[in-house]
């Protein structure tokens, strides 16, 4: 009885929070709507001066059709209706490919995700074994500590010129930047997690004459797993932040490139849609690691 009441209260609290979130969203959209439509009349009046044939031609060359039906006030912020149009357009064909400069948002995201995945996995492959070493051996820790302290605060994008020069491939340079930015949290968290495994458990392993490899995989790894996965979660967050900036810099493909390209096209609806996509994908990635974290966490 008491439990069900409590359950109901919790559920109703969740319900309340959900309703309030929706309300807040509606409020924000309302403000957006009022701000853009209110400004639009002014903007429209400003741009209604008839264009010359050359100007129309120029606009068409730039990828816009000022005579078309959805002629948006270029200088204005997109209205909600325009946003809806763009969203529908992108979602109805997320994976189309009309050439390197015109592909679906899904493909762009896939390019970014692939780069992040490769860079992140390479970083994990280096950081986790190295973190084990640092965590288990104070000598290794002291030897590597100065390098880590100097390399860690370097902005990942500062590596870009060096990466472009040595790797000579813009896409791989992006991967390298992801690698270098996601290595540190994983390295330090793994080292910390391994170093703080409880003495008792190690003593149990010692009295059972467990081989070093078996100890690493069946005692230290599960004991340090929550800390390691936390490091991976932080790394993934940083990697997803950095990939957008890196792709803006090197161009070619990816969601960062898409945002920059649409900025050059001055297509704000596309940019806003891309921003929302970046946020959603980032959230999904974080949720994924939160689930992994829950799977490896243990109660003492």
């Amino acid at each position: 009885m008491a439990a069900s009441t409590k359950n109901f209260l919790v559920r109703s609290e969740g319900l309340k929070a959900g309703l309030l979130s929706l309300l807040l969203l509606a409020l924000l959209l309302g403000i957006w709507h009022l701000a853009t439509t209110g400004g639009a009349t002014a903007a429209v009046s400003a741009t209604t001066t008839p264009l010359t044939a050359e100007q129309i031609e120029y606009a068409k060359l730039m990828g816009h059709d000022p005579t078309g039906g959805d002629a948006a006030p270029r200088s204005g912020f997109p209205t909600l209706a325009q946003m809806a149009d763009v969203t529908v357009k992108h979602l109805s064909a997320p994976f189309y490919y009309y050439g390197p400069n015109d592909m679906g948002i899904g493909l762009q995201l896939a390019h970014s995700l692939a780069r992040v995945a490769v860079g992140f996995l390479l970083a994990a492959a280096v950081a986790i074994p190295l973190g084990f070493l640092i965590g288990m051996s104070p000598l290794a820790y002291r030897t590597l500590d100065p390098f880590i302290q100097v390399l860690k605060p370097i902005s990942p994008l500062a590596w870009m010129p060096l990466a472009l020069f040595t790797i000579k491939d813009s896409s791989l340079s992006g991967v390298f930047v992801i690698f270098i930015c996601s290595i540190w949290p994983m390295l330090l968290n793994t080292a910390f997690g391994v170093a703080s495994v409880r003495r008792d458990w190690l003593n149990v392993a010692r009295t059972l004459e467990v081989s070093p490899l078996r100890k690493a995989f069946f005692v230290i790894l599960p004991a340090a797993a929550p800390t390691i996965v936390t490091g991976m979660r932080i790394s993934m967050g940083i990697a997803w932040l950095v990939i957008v900036a890196a792709e803006m810099l090197v161009g070619g493909t990816g969601i960062g490139h898409f945002v920059w390209n649409e900025w050059n096209n001055l297509s704000l609806p596309n940019i806003i849609f891309a921003i929302l996509c970046i946020g959603l994908v980032g959230m999904l990635l974080d949720r994924m690691f939160a689930l992994a974290q829950r799977a490896v966490t243990y109660v003492e």
Binding site: D200, V204, R206, L208, E209, R214
Partner: protein
């Protein structure tokens, strides 16, 4: 009968410390014997146990198990840790299976599981076999620790104050269980305890340590009560009070007097349980004058 476990001139000085924690520790444990060690905090009981387990090294002296020197941890010596030391990400089954697989790496899955179940039954935890340690009470966790130590069938079992953190009722039940299991398996046991009654119930011989620094095993008290003793009937035996008084007197009056290496190097073995009822506790006053002489007299 030669000693199965032999400790000779064991000493430990921590780096930077002026005096040894313990020094000149000598004692032996026979095959199948249950030995308890009692002493005040800081006399190095846990360090001695860790040296026996091979987890720590002594500054000098030897530990011989079956005439071979202890050089490190071994599956021959099982340890029950003070804080149970179960791995929280494994179930009861997983924790014990980890130990069983360490001892017999080429056993098949079914054989390991059968062995695990046998030892889980032994400590009466059949229903909880698939639970994680976090879902168990303190007493149940310690039972799992005991089952794990027994499951590898060690030749020597080391218990570091295993019931220290348990309430009196639970402690009593597990003591009875331990007594039963040791009787069934003829296990050789070395156990640290703070509880005089627990020592009298469980031990065949009780090693009394003097206080640190330079602590020693100052006296060995033989438990002359029949091995069929149980917790329920223990206090009806007149020997119980003689032994108990002797132990408590030692801890209260003698152990501090015998610190700084004033205890004898070869501890005398005494049987206070068999002593004639004395008109007054004369040994106590004698201890205060000259501990070593009086203890020899008692022996």
């Amino acid at each position: 009968m030669t000693d199965f476990l032999k400790v000779e001139q064991l000493a430990k000085t921590y780096t930077g410390a002026a005096e040894a924690v313990f020094e000149g520790v000598n004692f032996g444990v026979r095959q199948g014997e249950f030995v308890c060690i009692i002493g005040h905090s800081g006399c190095g009981k846990t360090t001695i146990l860790n040296v026996l387990a091979g987890l720590e090294t002594a500054s000098s002296g030897y530990v011989l198990v079956d005439n071979r020197e202890v050089a490190g941890p071994s599956l021959d010596r099982g340890v029950v840790f003070q804080g149970h030391a179960l791995m929280p990400w494994l179930t009861v089954r997983g924790n014990i299976a980890f130990a069983v697989r360490s001892k017999w790496p080429d056993w098949g899955r079914a054989q390991v599981d059968e062995h695990v179940q046998k030892y889980v039954q032994l400590v009466g935890l059949g229903q909880a076999i698939d639970k994680k340690p976090s879902a168990l009470s303190g007493g149940m966790k310690q039972r799992v620790g005991i089952a794990r130590a027994f499951s590898i069938q060690p030749r020597l079992l080391l218990l570091d104050e295993p019931f220290g953190a348990l309430d009196a009722l639970t402690r009593g039940t597990i003591q009875d269980e331990l007594l039963r299991i040791c009787a069934e398996t003829h296990q050789t046991v070395f156990m640290i305890t703070h509880d005089v009654d627990e020592a009298i119930l469980l031990a065949d011989r009780i090693l009394m340590m003097s206080n640190g620094p330079q602590a020693r095993v100052a006296e060995i008290v033989k438990n002359t009560m029949p091995r069929t003793r149980t917790r329920a009937t223990l206090h009806h035996d007149p020997q119980f009070y003689r032994i108990r008084n002797h132990l408590v007197d030692f801890l209260v009056f003698c152990s501090a007097e015998l610190s700084h290496g004033r205890a004898p190097l070869q501890p005398p073995e005494v049987s206070p349980g068999l002593a004639e009822p004395e008109p007054e506790p004369e040994p106590i006053s004698a201890f205060e004058v000259s501990p070593v002489v009086s203890m020899r007299r008692v022996a």
